[in-house]
Symmetry: C2
Subunit: 196 residues, 2 copies
């Protein structure tokens, strides 16, 4: 017989499978369908591994990876709130706190505390790791928008001011990634993917 | 202007987006659609974090996570070879080696070497980390098959002998996970999800 501890871990692993059915606003490259939260989180983890060297300070990469892998789990209960949705954004925090209580609460207490604390840190941008994770969470959709010719921006009436605002924090932690973001936005405007 | 190094990293990050369009044989839980490789890889990374404590020897968890995140990238070129497909399995290694050369070759040389070496290690089960990653790669679909009442097993005519054989290595690295696997298979048979 498996122990209660292992049963709790498996229950969580099964429950978070639902993140594969939470669809984001952006599209996968070359595809017709929207990206799922699980796919997005996988992509952030790959980016964290490859791009950590561009952060101007030393950081704990394992912590960043854990953060990006779990950062959207709360959307299983709270749904994906579009980053440019001002009304949905109003009660987002309340909905996501309740989701975090329920979902992380499925785990054995020590693991629940570890992941919850990582999630809180991410939400509050409370460390260099959280700021890097947050920058990746903004850069990754930017890359997908750019590589789908701005399809989702156009469908949702998003203009360059909002995109610039959403990505301006990146420069706080990395000049190089900040420059990359500026270049992509500028090129998106000049190619007509993003309205000025 | 971004450096050539950063451009290579971004080119890889864009290219591997294609893993979101590689569909596996198993279904997501409760859903009607097949799981993508990106979703599967995300799930393995979550499992690695939570279940590492059940491995009977100390291991480098960051290495395991990197391994599971990249283990299926080669399927972008080589396609998903169903684990029970004996004919597709014949030239799988050749197709996947070529894919690894091309895909990891997009990266700056040091990162290409690191990820390629992790992928080789995974393929060869050449370390405790690789054996754990491999066991997760077998346990995760088992959990999904069980929680979709064996839908994919039935559609593909898979019987218990094959599933037992595929999961028997798990006990080599963890008694507890080995027992879990046995319990799930036994329960799948008794519930009629898996034919004896």
């Amino acid at each position: 017989m498996t122990t209660q501890r292992l049963q709790q871990q498996i229950a969580f692993i099964i429950e978070v499978d639902k993140i594969k059915q939470i669809y984001r606003k952006n599209f996968v490259i070359g595809g017709e369908r929207h990206e799922t939260d699980a796919e997005h989180s996988w992509h952030l983890a790959i980016m964290a591994i490859l791009l950590a060297e561009h952060i101007d300070y030393p950081l704990d990469i394992l912590k960043v990876i854990k953060m990006v892998l779990i950062h959207d789990i709360v959307e299983i209960d709270a749904g994906d709130t579009y980053c440019f949705d001002q009304i949905g954004g109003l009660d987002k925090a309340v909905r996501e706190q309740a989701a975090a209580n329920r979902l992380f609460g499925l785990l054995p207490e020590d693991q629940a505390q570890e992941l919850r604390s990582l999630w809180d840190e991410f939400e509050q941008r409370g460390s260099l790791e959280a700021k890097f994770a947050d920058a990746l969470d903004r850069l990754q959709p930017l890359l997908l928008h750019y590589n789908t010719e701005g399809k989702s921006w156009q469908l949702n009436g998003i203009t360059s001011g909002k995109v610039i605002e959403r990505n301006q924090r990146t420069r706080e932690i990395s000049d190089k990634l900040g420059q990359l973001v500026d270049d992509i936005i500028e090129d998106s405007i000049s190619k007509g993917y993003l309205k000025k």
